[in-house]
């Protein structure tokens, strides 16, 4: 196999993707180990940039009886060779065919990666549907944020983990140890052992019944010992839980090539379009002492020369100023660059902005998301125009001459005024720049306006809304293209066909799996890559499945409709989401969690955790 592989590697692009020879790679003896394959269903350079991989790879490999290896989607040229020469896709570390693993876990980070998931299973000769698999096949697990609506992929999974994976995975693997010793050949016995762990969803134990109009009648457990609702797994104390102090350092170029410190989970802003803000509640921070310690150890153990911070809203971290001061120190002493993500400058001290400027000029991004205060209030994105303009002024006076503005189009209740509002904001930013005397600002202003298409997601107050049609998106993009024609403005917008499919899958039910299977059989893969995405294949697959995109995307749902994810409990109550939905229609905002508790329900579901809400 090694000789065959060597010959292939000489003939393909980026052979570094398939080597598994990184700094800090974990190698173990395979005898008597539970073998877990962690798969990020995109190419190496993308998958290795995912922080969750480093966390889960690390925590599983601390278990003596577990050997966790990695798998990524092969490049198209590599896949051709694998198929031509009948070679199974293999793990990076041991080059083991994936069918021989005990577990194969896929992280579902975005809906358009699903065809890659099927493709990888196919390349490993593993039957795609759970019901067709035997004990000879690995147990297929899905995790990641998309699992809050797991239904479109339910048929393909043995186990789905909903929520934060650190503890659940360890528990599942411990139970598997016990199950192995029993020498049973009944997978169901293993499932019985794990079904009551929070976060564990075993789709085959549930059935979905439909009404005549196509909506769901009920989602029921098939047996009485199966819990009717699956509670999301949540880590209570981020300081105590495992975080790697040593991570894989790739040898080839990857998308994000640096140390990443996760500073907190959850978000207290409550923007109504944002799924992450709802499904990762409550806010739980890592203490600054823990972060400093982790930073020191990671720099020592990896040799990386750049460090970055990760969270849903970094400037909301309670000790952000001290943390940044510390990182600036590290930068000066250890020559480690700091990469600061986009931050809300409205709650930053002037001195801190000056400090950051000294170290590195990071990109400045503001995300007003909507062009008018009215629409921002509807979506609960609480940024005022003065904040934006004041922060821009601050930035320009400190030497920045380029700025990014992020917006969405297709938001609920959106009117033409809101679209024109985007143009007005962009021009007001330009005016702000010009209001500063020439000697106090840098020449060459560039305002980059970027619009993406709003996709309603499960477990948000907008989960009942209709999604904007392809035609309307394109019309609005054309309007903005014309309105934003200016030397100082660059307007970026994305192909919206992928957003239509994202919507279909994000709020799809189990029947949508037929579409995914069909389009995969037609050769679809790397759907999030422009050069590989084929919309017509998807349209054909939808037609063949006798389903209708409009049913999923363009139908306004009643509050009492049974939704495909109603059997999942992320902790935020439906009552809260309905309340927020109604408030949005009254153009009323909801304050952030640090100002007032809006009773989203998370405290009722989970008590005794270290978080913002006590």
């Amino acid at each position: 196999m090694k000789k065959k592989l060597d010959k292939i590697l000489k003939d393909i692009e980026l052979p570094g993707r398939y080597l598994g020879n990184e700094i800090n790679v974990v190698r173990k003896e395979v005898e008597n180990k539970t073998r877990f394959g962690f798969c990020f269903p995109d190419v190496y350079e993308v998958g290795m940039s995912f922080l969750g991989l480093h966390i889960l790879y690390g925590i599983m490999n601390t278990m003596e009886n577990v050997y966790c290896e990695r798998i990524f989607a092969p490049g198209v040229d590599m896949e051709d060779r694998l198929r031509k020469e009948n070679i199974s896709i293999f793990t990076l570390e041991e080059k083991t065919p994936i069918k021989e693993l005990d577990f194969l876990g896929f992280t579902l980070q975005y809906e358009l990666s699903y065809t890659n998931v099927l493709n990888i299973m196919d390349l490993g000769n593993i039957p795609l549907k759970a019901k067709d698999r035997t004990l000879d096949d690995p147990i297929i697990i899905f995790g990641g944020p998309c699992t809050v609506n797991p239904e479109p992929m339910a048929e393909f999974a043995d186990i789905i983990i909903i929520g934060e994976g650190e503890e659940v995975l360890v528990n599942i693997l411990n139970e598997y140890e016990i199950f192995k010793k029993q020498n049973s050949n009944n997978k169901e016995e293993f499932y019985k052992r794990i079904i009551n762990i929070d976060g564990v969803y075993i789709p085959s134990f549930y059935q979905v019944l439909y009404k005549e109009d196509g909506t769901i009648k009920e989602i029921n457990p098939k047996e009485d010992w199966v819990k009717p609702k699956i509670k999301r797994a949540i880590i209570k104390d981020l300081d105590k839980i495992y975080f790697p102090d040593k991570i894989l350092v790739p040898l080839i170029d990857i998308v994000h090539d640096r140390i990443v410190l996760e500073i907190f989970r959850g978000c207290l802003r409550g923007c109504r379009f944002c799924q992450a803000g709802m499904i990762y509640r409550p806010v739980r921070e890592r203490s600054i002492e823990r972060l400093k310690d982790l930073a020191d150890r990671l720099i020592k153990n990896t040799g990386y020369d750049e460090i970055s911070l990760s969270s849903l809203s970094t400037s909301d971290y309670s000790e952000i100023e001290n943390l940044i001061k510390y990182l600036i120190e590290v930068n000066l002493n250890k020559k480690v660059g700091i990469s600061l993500p986009s931050m809300r400058l409205d709650n930053f001290s002037k001195d801190l902005i000056e400090e950051i400027t000294k170290v590195r000029k990071t990109g400045l991004t503001f995300a007003p998301e909507a062009g008018t205060q009215r629409l921002r209030d509807i979506i609960n994105k609480n940024i005022k125009e003065e904040d934006l303009l004041n922060s821009s002024k601050e930035a320009f006076e400190n030497g920045w001459n380029s700025l990014k503005l992020y917006f969405m189009i297709g938001l609920p209740e959106e009117t033409k005024e809101d679209i024109m509002g985007i143009k007005e904001l962009a021009f007001k930013v330009i005016d702000t720049y010009h209001s500063i005397p020439k000697e106090n600002r840098q020449p060459g202003l560039k305002v980059k306006v970027s619009t993406s298409t709003f996709v309603p997601k499960a477990f948000t107050p907008f989960q009942w809304e209709t999604q904007i049609s392809l035609k309307e998106i394109e019309e609005k993009q054309e309007i903005l293209k014309a309105e934003l024609k200016n030397k100082k403005i660059i307007y970026n917008y994305h192909d919206s066909k992928t957003s239509i499919l994202e919507g279909l899958i994000a709020r799809g039910d189990r029947r949508v799996s037929n579409i995914i299977l069909e389009v995969f059989n037609m050769g679809a893969k790397f759907d999030s890559w422009h050069e590989h995405f084929d919309f017509n294949k998807w349209l054909e697959a939808i037609k063949k499945s006798n389903l209708d995109i409009d049913f999923y995307n363009n139908r306004k749902k009643a509050y009492d409709e049974v939704l495909p994810w109603d059997h999942i409990d992320v902790g935020v109550s439906k009552e809260f989401l309905i309340k927020e939905s109604k408030k949005s229609k009254e153009i009323k905002t909801t304050d952030d969690c640090s100002k007032i508790c809006s009773n989203c329900g998370i405290t009722k579901s989970y008590s005794d955790f270290k978080g913002v809400c006590y």
Partner: protein, 250 residues
Amino acid sequence: MNYRAKYKKVGNMKYISHLDLVRLFHRVLRKSELDIEFSKGFNPHPIIAFANASGVGIESIGEYTDFELKNDIEESTVLEDINKAMPEGIELLEILRMPIKVDSLMSVVNKSEYKILIDLEELDIDISNFNNCINKFLEQEEILIKKKTKNKRKRRKTPFKLVNIREMILDVLIVNINENEIELLVTLSSGSSENLKPSIFIEKLFEFIGVNINKSEFNILRNDFFTEYNGESINLMEYSKKILEVKSNG
């Protein structure tokens, strides 16, 4: 203190590019916790230099690098500390402390010796005649290759120029030959003035013989880099030791 190290790059490490290798050394030096000397400026990085842009696809047991530490540390400690931080497939073999300034690696390199293994599984070669073929190949006065013109403007008029590589093939020896494989020991010009890639040598040789060969059918291992000293060819490590001796004796 400056150090010169000889290192090997084998196995899967042959697939990483030169830029990847430079970045790897930067990280390994930081990880070794030796007190590295950093460059000044906006993006400080460890001060390190190489003999040649290492070819992708070539294994080597004779690569060289120069780097600088803030302090004067014992050679064996430096070697051990760096090797501890290295991933599998790269290892420092020998290290030389250089208290006196010497010429850069790149400026002295002039040839490389390669061990080339050709896999005959899929190739149709008459092994009894192979020696003869090589001799005939080398008897040519001119072996021409097309070199793409680097300058974009000039490239419009002259897209490529013809280069005679015969002079850059310094020695070819058949070490072993049987029906499974051919092992050659080949010395080619290497360095900033004249440089011949071993893969091009193979391409031209087999083109001459009239056999189609592709990358997956041969393995290249660089044994060492050489330079001229007092009329003789010696490897860079030996050369560096000699130069230091001469310079320190005044």
